[in-house]
Symmetry: D2
C-alpha cells in the first residue's frame, strides 16, 4: 500500500485525488491547501481524508510515501525538494518547475535518493497520442516533416505565467514524445493585450535537425476552441482534432514525391491523394493511466527513463525558458 499526500486542491487537484483514490493499493491520506474554500470542497468530496493548510504537514509526514504537487508553478521547486529530501516520491503538475536549473536539481536529488519524480504530462497518456506514437513507430508516416499544433480558446488568464507556459507544455510534451529527434532551437513571438505584460497570444517555432520543424499556436483570447495538430511525414499525413467526439485521428494517404535530378526549374513534383483512415482510439481516461504508471514505477523500482520523468519535464522547461528569451527579442532564435 502506497500512502499519498496531495498539495493543492484547486482546479486540477480533485482529478488527481479521484484518480489516485481509484487505484487499489493506494491511499490518499491527506490533502493540503491554503484556501479554506478548497478544503471545504475536499471535505465534501473525500470524507475521511485529513485536511490541512500546512504544506509541511505533508512534505514532512513520516506516514506518507509519495506526494502530488498540484500548486502554481512558482511553488513546485520548494515543495518537491522538501518532499524528496524527506524520502518521498513526487508527482508534479506541469510545467515542472519555474527554471531549468530547478528541474536539474530535482532530478539530481531524486536520483541520489533513489526516488521517482514524474511530471503530469497527461496528454501523452491519451488514447489519441498513444495511437499516434504507435503509427509513427510502425513507420507508416515515414520521416516526419513537421508538427503544427493549435490550442486556442477563451481561456482563463493566468496571473503568474504567460500563455506559452500555461498551454504549450501540453504540445511540447506531446511533440517531444512523438518526434524522435531532439529540438535544437526556439523562436517565439506574441503579444500581451493587458497591462501586466504577460502574453495572452503567442506563436512558437521549434527547430530540429533534418529540417523537421514544429509550430505551436496558443491563445487565451479566441472566440472558438481549437485543439488541432497536423503531423506530416514523407509518406502520409495525419490530422488530430481532439475536439472530435469520434474519429479524432485521421491519416491521409497524401503527399508529394519530388524528383529533382535536374535542378530547381526541372523539379518534378507528383502529388498523391488516396484513402483516409481513422483508427479507433482508446477512450480510457488519460490521467487514470498516468497515475497507474507512476505507481507501477514506484512498485517496480523501475529506474529507467520514462516518457514523463524528470528529464521529459526538463526538456519542456528548457524550451519554455528559451521561448521567454525569444519573446523579449520579438522572435530571435534561441539555441537550446
Amino acid at each position: 500500500m502506497i500512502t499519498f499526500g496531495v498539495i493543492g486542491y484547486g482546479y486540477w487537484g480533485p482529478n488527481i485525488v479521484r484518480n489516485f483514490m481509484g487505484i487499489d493499493d493506494v491511499t490518499v491520506c491527506s490533502i493540503a491547501d491554503k484556501n479554506p474554500d478548497a478544503l471545504k470542497r475536499a471535505s465534501k468530496a473525500c470524507p475521511g481524508v485529513e485536511l490541512t493548510d500546512d504544506y509541511t504537514a505533508i512534505t514532512g509526514s513520516p506516514d506518507i510515501d509519495a506526494v502530488a504537487i498540484v500548486t502554481p508553478v512558482s511553488m513546485h521547486f520548494e515543495l518537491a525538494k522538501e518532499a524528496l529530501e524527506n524520502g518521498k516520491h513526487v508527482f508534479v503538475e506541469k510545467p515542472f518547475t519555474a527554471t531549468a536549473e530547478q528541474a536539474e536539481q530535482l532530478i539530481e536529488l531524486a536520483e541520489k535518493n533513489k526516488l521517482r519524480i514524474m511530471v503530469d504530462h497527461t496528454f501523452i497518456f491519451t488514447g489519441a497520442v498513444r495511437k499516434i506514437k504507435e503509427i509513427i513507430d510502425t513507420g507508416e508516416l515515414g520521416d516526419i516533416y513537421y508538427f503544427d499544433s493549435m490550442r486556442v480558446n477563451l481561456g482563463l488568464f493566468q496571473h503568474d505565467v504567460n500563455v506559452i507556459w500555461d498551454l504549450a507544455p501540453h504540445d511540447l510534451a506531446i511533440m517531444d514524445y512523438l518526434i524522435p529527434e531532439k529540438p535544437v532551437a526556439v523562436s517565439a513571438t506574441g503579444a500581451a493585450h493587458f497591462n501586466h505584460g504577460m502574453e495572452n497570444i503567442a506563436f512558437l517555432t521549434v527547430y530540429f535537425p533534418n529540417n523537421i520543424i514544429a509550430h505551436i499556436n496558443v491563445n487565451w483570447l479566441s472566440p472558438v476552441k481549437v485543439r488541432t495538430t497536423l503531423l506530416c511525414g514523407q509518406k502520409k499525413m495525419l490530422v488530430w482534432n481532439d475536439l472530435e467526439p469520434a474519429d479524432k485521428i485521421k491519416i491521409y494517404d497524401k503527399g508529394v514525391d519530388i524528383n529533382s535530378t535536374e535542378g530547381v526549374y526541372n523539379l518534378l513534383v507528383s502529388y498523391r491523394s488516396g484513402d483516409m483512415w481513422a483508427p479507433k482510439v482508446d477512450q480510457t481516461e488519460a490521467l487514470k493511466l498516468e497515475v497507474q504508471h507512476f505507481i507501477d514505477c514506484i512498485n517496480n523500482n523501475n529506474g529507467g527513463p520514462n516518457a514523463n520523468d524528470g528529464y521529459a519535464g526538463l526538456s519542456v522547461i528548457k524550451m519554455l525558458e528559451a521561448s521567454n528569451r525569444s519573446l523579449q527579442s520579438r522572435g530571435c532564435v534561441v539555441e537550446l
Copy 2:
C-alpha cells in the same frame, strides 16, 4: 472603350480574360504567352482574340490602352515598366514585384505618366472581406487585438518563390486592408523539406503599434485545406472560415474585461459570452468587382489612393522581403 492586352494565360489568366471581357466598355484584343499549349487553350476559349508569343507585341502596341500581367513574379517589373513607358495602364498579378525597389520605381513611373497601376489583391473584393471591413469600420469589434490566419492545403509547389511569397500576399493584403495601423516589423520561421531550399511551410508574425499582432500560417504540404482567420477586438471577436459555403463570417459577443487597478495579482478578469451572429455575405465574384474597379479608376482618372493600388502592392512586398531576411536568421525580427 478600353482596349486590353493580357500577358500570361496559365492558371489565373483565363479568369482575368473572362472578367475583363465581361465588362461592357472593355475589349480584350490580344493575349500573349510563350507556351503554345496556353495559346491553344486561349484560341478555343476566346475566338477572335489575337494571340502571340511575343510580349512586346502587347506592351508596345499603339492600339492597347491597358495591360494585365499574369506571369510569374520575376517578369512583372520588366513587363510593367515597358507598358507604363508606352503609356498603358497596368494591372499586375500578386505579388506585385520581386523587390520593393522595383515596386517603388513602377509607382513613380505610373505617377509621372499619369497612369493607373493596380495589383490583383482579389481577396479584398470578396463579399467576406468587404463585410469584415464594414464591421470593423462601425466599431463593433472595438480596437483590434490580433489577426491570425491559416492558409494551408496540399498545394502546388512553386519553383521560383517560397510558400510565403505564394500564399501570404493574400493574407497580408487583407490584413493591410482591415487593420488601421501600419505594420512595423516582421518575424518569419519555416522549413524547406525538398532540396531546392524554398520553404514549403512557414509562419509569419507581423508587429504593429499598440500591441496589435498578426500571424500567418502558410503551408503547401497539409493533408487538409484550411482557410480560417481569427480577428479579435476589444469588444467582439470574429471568425472567417472561407471554406464554409454559408455563414463564412461569425461574430461572437465574447471577450474579457480586465480591471487591473491593483496590480498583477489582483487582476480582475471578467469573461463575457453572448450571442453569435453571421451576417449575410455578398456572393458576387470578387475578380469581377476588382476589374470593374480598375476600369472605373481609369475612366474617372481617379488619382487618389486605392485599396489595391501600387502602394498597397508595395506594402506587401516590403513585408515579403523582410520575411525572407527573417527566415534566413530563423526568426529574428526585421523592422519595416
Copy 3:
C-alpha cells in the same frame, strides 16, 4: 423538508438521485433496486442512504413524501399507483406508462388525492428548448410550418420496447411543448432487423391542424450520432443541433414569400436569405431544473397544468400507442 425514495438505480437512476440530493430542502432516504450490483453501486455513491430490493418498502413507507420511479416502463403504472394510493407525490421516468389508459388512471388518482405526478421529460428543461420556446413565443419565427427531428446513433437495444418508445418520447415531448396546436393523427413506418420483432429503426409523421407537420427519425443502428431538429416558420427557420458544443441553435432569416393571386402556374415565389443568429443558450443541467420544478410544485401545492405533468405524459403515450398501431399496418394513419 421533503423525503424522497427512488425506485430503480440502473442507467438513469444515479442522475435522479444526485439531482434530488442537490436540492436544499430534499432528502433521499431510500433507494430500491432488484439488482444487487445496482445496490452495491448505490452504497458507494450514497453512503447513509437506506438500500432495499423491496419496492413496497418505498411505496408503502410512512416516512416518504415523494417517489421517483426510474424502472422499465412496464412497472411504472403499478408502482405509481401504489405510491399515489399511499399519499406520495410521484416523479416517473419517460415514457409515462405502457398504455394511455394507465396514464389516465394515474392522473385521476393524483387529482383525487391532491398529489403531484410528473413525467421526466428532461429535454424541455434544457437551455436549448427553453430558448426555442422563448423565440417561438415572441413570434419571431411566425406560424410554424414543420418540425423535423433526427435522433440516431449506435444505441442500446431495449428488450421491452421498440426504438420509438425508447427515443421518440424526447422529440414528442419537445414537439408538444413547442407547437401550439394539438396533434391529430400519426403515421409510423419502421423495421426490426433482429428476431424479436421490435423495430430498431422507425419514422414517425405527426399531423396537426393547419398543415403543420412533424417528423421524427429514430434509429438504434446508425454509424454516426445525430441529434438535429429543423423547425421552420413562415418568417424564419431554426436549426437545433444538440451535439454542437457551442451555437446549438441557429436562426436563419430565410424563407419564401408566395403570392399566388393568379393560380398555380403564375405562382410568384420570392426567396429570402439574410443573416443568421445563434443566441446564447443557458448551460444549467436540465435535470437539475426539472427536479427543482417538481419540488416547487409540491411546495406551492400548485395544481395548475405544467409542461411535464400527467397530461403532458399522456399526450406522448397516446402518440406512442397510435404509432404502434400504424407500424402494424405499415404506415396507415391513426387518428388521435
Copy 4:
C-alpha cells in the same frame, strides 16, 4: 458521328449540351426551346448550333440520330414518343414520365424500333455512388439493413410537381441501383404549406423483402442544405455526405451482433466499434460519364439492361405514383 438535338435549354439543358459536345464523335446540331431568352443564352454559348422554338423540328428532322429531352416532365412522353417513332435514340431528363403507363409505352416502342432510351439518373454515375456500389458488391457491408437519405435545402418550388417528384428520383434511382432486392411497397407523408396543394416537404418509406427498409426525406423549405445518406449493413455501416468536399464516403466498422438463442429477454447484444475508412472517390463529372455511356450503348447496339435504361426509369415512376396515392391517404401503404 452521332448527331444530336436537344429540346429544352433551361436550368439543366446547358449541362447536357456541354457534355454531349465534349464527346469526340458527337455533334449537337440543334437546340429547341419555346423561351426566347433561353435561345439567346444558347446562341452565345453555342455559336454555330441551329436554334429553334419548334420541337418537331428536332423530333422530326431526318439529320438527327438522337434526342435529349430536357423539358418539364409533362412533355416527356409526347416528345420521346415522337422521337422514337422517327427512329431516334432518346435521352430523357428525370423523372422519366408523368405515369408508369407512359414509361411502359416508351420502353415498348424503343424495343420495337431497336432504339436506346435512357433516363438521366446522373447520380448513379458519380464517383461516390459508383464507389458505394463497388463496396456493396464486395460484400464488405454484409446484407443491407436500411438506406436512409435526406435531401433538403431552400430549393426552387416547382409548379407542376411536388417535392417528391422533384427531388426523390435521385434517391430512388440510387437506392434501386444499390439495393439488390426489388421494392415492394411505399408509404408517403408530407405537407403543402402554400395554396397550390403541392407538397413542399415529404417523407417516403420504401419496403423491401427481408426487412430491408428505405427512407427518403425531401424538403424545399429547409434553412440548411443536407445531402446525407446512411446505409447500414449487417457487417459495416456507411455514411455518404455529398456536401463534404473531401471524404464524402465513410465506412464504419461498427455494428451489433445479436445472439438470441434464449428468447427476447435473454437477447445478448454485443456492440462493435472499430476503425473508420474513407475511400478515395473519383471526381470525374458524373454527367460526362453518363452521356459517354449513352453514346457507347448506341454505338455497340448494346441491347442489354443498363443501370439507367427505361426499366430503371419505370421503377422510379412506379414508386412516385405510389407515393402520390399514399400521400392522399396520409401514409397508407401502397403495394408496388
